[in-house]
């Protein structure tokens, strides 16, 4: 039956349950990227059927691996002409299903566009292709004493293009900001296939801040083919402190006290007992076993860091820390961070399955929300481990469950969504850094009202009126773009020359 469909355009065939890319389209794609840049074999396609959120899967019709912006344009034009949905993909480490393909659609893998094109130390920026790995940017500029600040836990594999799509954060964004803070300019292939420059290496280019809107749009507004990133001078001194508390609430209180003392640490992280247990099992970070572990990192001038570290110690002691440790060497610091960054994956050591959530709350709501999460988890007899960027109220509750137990996955999913609602009810957000993607569309509808979402849709429609760039993501329900509004029609009064005064 499918073989009869190949003449039809994708959107027509998609009305049926059988979604395949017409062979002519595949031929066009091959011509655009070369035979070595096209994947259509079922077993190879399987690699691309999901991202880091593995419970959503869909088989793409083809994967293309363009080598430059021109090839991306050619691919997008083919998709636009045939109204085939496409999704761009970096390393596929996203945790919200952002890179999940449309069934039968095209995956544009940016893996071969991985060159650092320009390094300008005097003006503190680098220009990279989207497939460049996050930590490679820092490696490249480190000899000059600089680093690239956003540091998602997956930084050794995730790509800049993916970071741009998700507006990725990391542990140090409390002080240094997010991907958008560090993105000066973008070269973007629009869903029509046109190539545009958004922003500039200089600040405040005249016009709307389209680079600011594009970052974090989760691949729904086009494909970034070049990114200009700001780099930051390494601080003179960095110190990392671990403090052990009875509970995450006590650790949370310490965070509030540190902030109230007008300090802006570069990182403030909390892990609860379950998370510590898992991280220890996975990477032996030598964490003290306790109910709530606080990690504080301060950076800046040596004299200032030293003085502030003394203040932090005093605050920890006041809040009855049972143990306070400062990493003495770079190796010790690296190990502390390794444990923290491995925390999600480490859950596999203590639970057969787990769901990573990503909610945000005002920092002051932390003790209240943590207690409520505890209560909600006990009510359904599940365990929730907590790892969070406490400085900016970004929680990562990890809901532990066993898929083998019938019905438990549904209960766990339901709990994880209820935790997001709890965050919104407390004045927060349904995602701090992982994005909405496929996973949190309904939650976005809980956070924003219909007029808010309709207004966001206006942006979407200006960029992608045909709705082919990563469609059916982010927004709670499929939305079509209304017919383009017509040209401006003068009011009859104006036409009559009466209202010219206006």
């Amino acid at each position: 039956m499918c073989s009869k469909m190949w003449r039809h355009r994708w959107h027509e065939s998609s009305k049926l349950s059988c979604r395949v890319l017409p062979l002519v389209t595949i031929d066009e794609l091959r011509a655009a990227v070369g035979a070595d840049g096209l994947i259509t074999g079922a077993s190879q396609l399987q690699t691309y059927e999901c991202d880091g959120l593995t419970n959503f899967r869909a088989m793409p019709g083809a994967v293309v691996l363009p080598k430059n912006a021109g090839e991306v344009q050619a691919v997008v034009r083919i998709c636009a002409q045939n109204r085939v949905p496409f999704v761009s993909r970096g390393a596929g480490t996203g945790l919200s299903g952002g890179a999940l393909p449309a069934a039968g659609g095209v995956v544009i893998s940016l893996a071969r566009m991985n060159r650092i094109l320009e390094v300008d130390i005097a003006n503190k920026y680098v220009v990279v292709e989207p497939g460049v790995i996050n930590s490679h940017v820092t490696q490249r500029v480190a000899p000059h004493g600089y680093f690239y600040a956003p540091d998602p836990s997956s930084q050794s594999v995730c790509t800049i293009g993916g970071n741009v799509a998700e507006n990725s954060g990391g542990a140090h964004c409390l002080k240094y900001g997010f991907t958008v803070t560090h993105t000066l300019a973008l070269e973007v292939v629009l869903p029509s296939g046109e190539l545009v420059q958004l922003g500039s290496p200089t600040l405040d280019a005249p016009g709307y801040d389209l680079a600011g809107v594009f970052v974090g749009s989760e691949g729904t507004l086009g494909v970034a083919t070049k990114v200009t990133l700001r780099i930051v001078k390494r601080p003179e001194d960095v110190q990392t402190l671990l403090a052990a508390f009875d509970s995450p609430q006590a650790a949370g209180q310490t965070v509030s006290d540190i902030i109230a003392a007008q300090m802006l640490p570069s990182a403030l992280e909390i892990m609860d007992a379950l998370a510590i247990e898992a991280a220890e099992a996975a990477v032996h970070a030598h964490y003290p076993m306790c109910g709530g572990l606080l990690l504080v990192e301060l950076d800046g001038s040596a004299s200032e860091v030293e003085k502030l570290m003394r203040d932090v110690r005093a605050i920890c002691t006041k809040n009855r820390a049972s143990e306070i440790r400062v990493a003495q060497t770079d190796e010790e610091r690296a190990l502390v961070w390794k444990g923290r960054k491995a925390a999600f994956a480490a859950m596999g050591r203590i639970s057969p399955n787990y769901i990573v959530q990503d909610g945000v709350i005002p920092r002051t709501a932390l003790p209240r929300v943590l207690s409520e999460i505890d209560r909600m988890a006990s009510a359904v007899s599940l365990r929730v481990a907590n790892v969070f960027h406490a400085g900016d109220g970004n929680l990562h509750p990890l809901v532990l469950y066993d898929r083998a137990i019938e019905g438990q996955e549904e209960i766990a999913l339901d709990l994880s969504y209820r935790i997001l609602h709890l965050c919104v009810d407390n004045g927060g957000s349904v995602t701090g850094e992982h994005g909405v993607g496929k996973e949190k569309q309904e939650a976005l509808g809980y956070m924003f009202s219909e007029p808010d979402l309709e207004t966001m849709q206006l942006v979407r429609c200006a960029f992608d009126p045909e709705n082919i760039s990563n469609p059916d993501k982010v927004f709670p329900r499929p939305r079509l773009c209304a017919e383009k509004p017509g040209p401006y029609t003068p009011h009859p009064l104006e036409a009559a020359g009466i209202a010219e005064i206006f």
């Binding site: 003006n123 005249p206 389209l210 902030i259 109220g393 004045g427 956070m447 206006l458 005064i501």
Partner: protein, 413 residues
């Protein structure tokens, strides 16, 4: 004025008065000024304007109404009554403030908890939050704290059809939905009317010191500035001031009192032989003073930081050659304010030259303050972006009847 016209204005007035109250609706010779009480009333005003094709100019205190192309609007939408600092949960270091709130008033309230919105716009005693955001204004703080796009975490806006929409939220870290607030920041009121803004806050700078390096030629300050920016010192502000025959580099550091001396030692190390003088905080008013001088053209020039001294030196030389008076205040971020006094032709020639000069490095020149004489002969925006069609499409989606500040923005958007 014909009778028909006054009736039409009269009708407009009476409808707006029925929304905002007669005492808040005034009939002037060419427009109706209306000051709604809240976001809901802003929505009703816009819905009326949209249905009748009447152009609207939103205003705060009007300090920057001269920026951009001039708009002859039938309705002047005054945000002055929507002016309350709604929330300041100081332990969360955020605030929610209405657009008509005076900038200095807001900062004074935040300062009661030792906090601030880390932005230093022009005329803080007069300017309003909405006006500062709509024009994306900001001063030398940007080096350390970033610009408005880094400080705004949420917003309430009203679209031309009266839709009230929110984006972002009240938490600093948030990637849910599109950041409409980034689109609104610096959009000069052409996409929607901002009625409320959520900011992230920073600790106020309790203890600061300013130093100055003096030189004759801006080019002589290029190396000290480069060395400073490449050092591990994190100044809160750095600016270059350049006139015809003299120039200065100002550096401000905010630090704990007990660490200030050490910062000074580091600064002296970076600058080597060049003499470092203590300076008054007043030097940070230099940017605003360029606007306060009457009659001149004031430009916002954006260039690469490493070009700032060189371009300033070139301008100094031009000032020496022609009958031009040029004053420059350049921030280390590459944002430069230039005031020009000259014959109109010379000003236009200079602006065009600068645009050509900066094109290859992505720089731009926007004429913010323009004498009436020059209007018409000068493209104030100088936007040659290939994303202009996309910007027009966004405008069309947001404001299909083109009633919000029509023509004021880039490409006559």
């Amino acid at each position: 004025m014909s009778a028909t016209v006054s009736i039409s204005l009269q009708e407009c007035w009476s409808h707006l008065a029925s929304i905002a109250g007669q005492e808040h609706t005034h009939l002037a010779s060419e427009a109706v000024a209306v000051a709604p009480a809240d976001t809901q009333q802003v929505s009703e005003v816009l819905r009326f304007a949209d249905a009748n094709g009447v152009a609207v100019t939103p205003t705060g205190s009007g300090t920057k109404l001269g920026w951009g192309n001039q708009v002859e609007a039938g309705i002047r939408l005054d945000l002055k009554r929507i002016n309350v600092l709604r929330e300041h949960p100081w332990q969360d270091m955020t605030c929610t403030v209405e657009a008509g709130c005076n900038w200095a008033t807001m900062q004074a309230e935040l300062a009661s908890h030792g906090q601030m919105v880390a932005l230093d716009p022009l005329w803080p005693e007069k300017a309003t939050v909405g006006g500062v955001v709509a024009t994306n204004d900001g001063g030398p703080f940007r080096l350390r704290y970033g610009g408005l796009r880094d400080l705004i975490i949420g917003m309430t806006i009203v679209l031309s059809d009266g839709t009230i929409a929110k984006s972002g939220g009240k938490v600093v870290k948030n990637v849910a939905g599109y950041d409409l607030h980034k689109l609104m920041t610096g959009a000069f009121g052409t996409l929607g009317v901002i009625t409320q803004v959520n900011f992230r806050l920073h600790p106020a700078e309790a203890n600061t010191r300013t130093w100055t390096l003096v030189a004759r030629d801006a080019a002589d300050l290029a190396e000290p500035l480069r060395a400073l920016l490449d050092s591990q010192i994190t100044p809160s502000s750095v600016q270059l001031r350049a006139q015809k025959l003299e120039c200065a580099l100002d550096v401000r550091i905010a630090a704990l009192p007990e660490c200030m001396d050490q910062h000074e030692t580091s600064l002296r190390k970076v600058f080597g032989q060049i003499e470092l003088q203590d300076a008054d905080e007043k030097v940070w008013r230099a940017r605003q003073e360029l606007f306060d001088a009457e009659g001149g053209v004031v430009l916002k020039v954006s260039l690469l930081p490493a070009e700032a001294c060189l371009i300033s030196a070139e301008l100094q030389q031009l000032a020496g050659r022609d009958d031009l008076e040029i004053n420059i205040v350049a921030q280390a971020t590459g944002l430069m304010t230039v005031s020009l006094r000259s014959a109109p032709e010379a000003a236009i020639t200079l602006i065009e030259h600068l645009r050509w000069r900066l094109r290859s490095s992505g720089g731009s020149v926007v004429a913010l303050q323009v004498p009436q004489l020059l209007r018409g002969g000068l493209d104030v925006w100088g936007c040659d972006s290939n994303a202009l069609p996309l910007m027009r499409e966004i405008k069309r989606r947001f404001d299909p009847n083109h009633i919000l500040n029509p023509g004021r923005f880039v490409g006559n958007i």
